[in-house]
Symmetry: C2
Subunit: 143 residues, 2 copies
């Protein structure tokens, strides 16, 4: 999760909503990414999406069976969909998203009729990341 937070800081520095994600398999880091929606001019440029795309490329497989994903902020509907499409095994979340969270906060779509793959979801609040995200939005509001 610390590595995912370091990714989020890269997004922060670019003025992007700071979210970071890391794909891990058997203890090895496969890919990492941060939110680059504005930088890449891509509505789908969320950290999880980019980390998954890069992991697929690296492992030369469009299924990431046996891989885990660490993400600083609870995934939205799009990212959770990609996580299921990629067949991620375990998802570790650093902070809940009460606005768009599709795994715990608003809905639990991986446990819904839309799910076709068993995904384990783990949540432990990261106080460091919470401070970072709150600071980002505070700075944004004061601009």
């Amino acid at each position: 999760m610390n590595m995912a937070i370091r990714e989020a800081i890269k997004a922060y520095k670019l003025g992007e909503v700071p979210v970071g994600a890391v794909v891990v398999k058997d203890g090895e880091v496969i890919s990492k990414a941060f939110n680059e929606t504005i930088t890449m001019i891509d509505a789908s440029g969320h950290a999880e999406m980019l980390a998954i795309r890069r992991a697929c490329e690296k492992l030369e497989n469009y299924r990431l069976t046996g891989c885990d994903l660490y993400v600083t902020l609870e995934p939205c509907m799009m990212c959770l969909g990609a996580i299921l499409e990629a067949r991620i095994k375990n998802l570790y979340i650093g902070l809940l998203d009460y606005k768009k969270g599709a795994c715990i906060s608003k809905m639990q779509l991986h446990n819904s009729s839309l799910s076709y793959h068993k995904l384990n979801v783990f949540y432990e609040e990261s106080k460091i990341y919470k401070f970072l995200l709150q600071n980002f939005f505070k700075t944004l509001r004061n601009k």
Copy 2:
């Protein structure tokens, strides 16, 4: 929708699940794409995702405000999420997906607590596309 079906045929020829998508703004085609999950080795390589990414690139905007999306098959959770992220105005669907459809069949996530943007969804069954998709899966089963 005919253009989206022609895109789906390109996927069919590559052995990909045949789905096609077209982004339109003010009567002008902005982007088109077909499902390339296997070809691009990308779990998120669905037609809608690629069409949205290309449209963002072309319009140099990560928001596709005022754009419509035509897609042959009802979007899944991931693609509907991207459609909402991109602020697509109208979504036109050519066939329902009873397994993974997140807009009509299984759930209507654009009308759920997860939605933060008003999306209009229109559905009219395309018999041509239905035949194409059924034929694809029939051939696949016989392989």
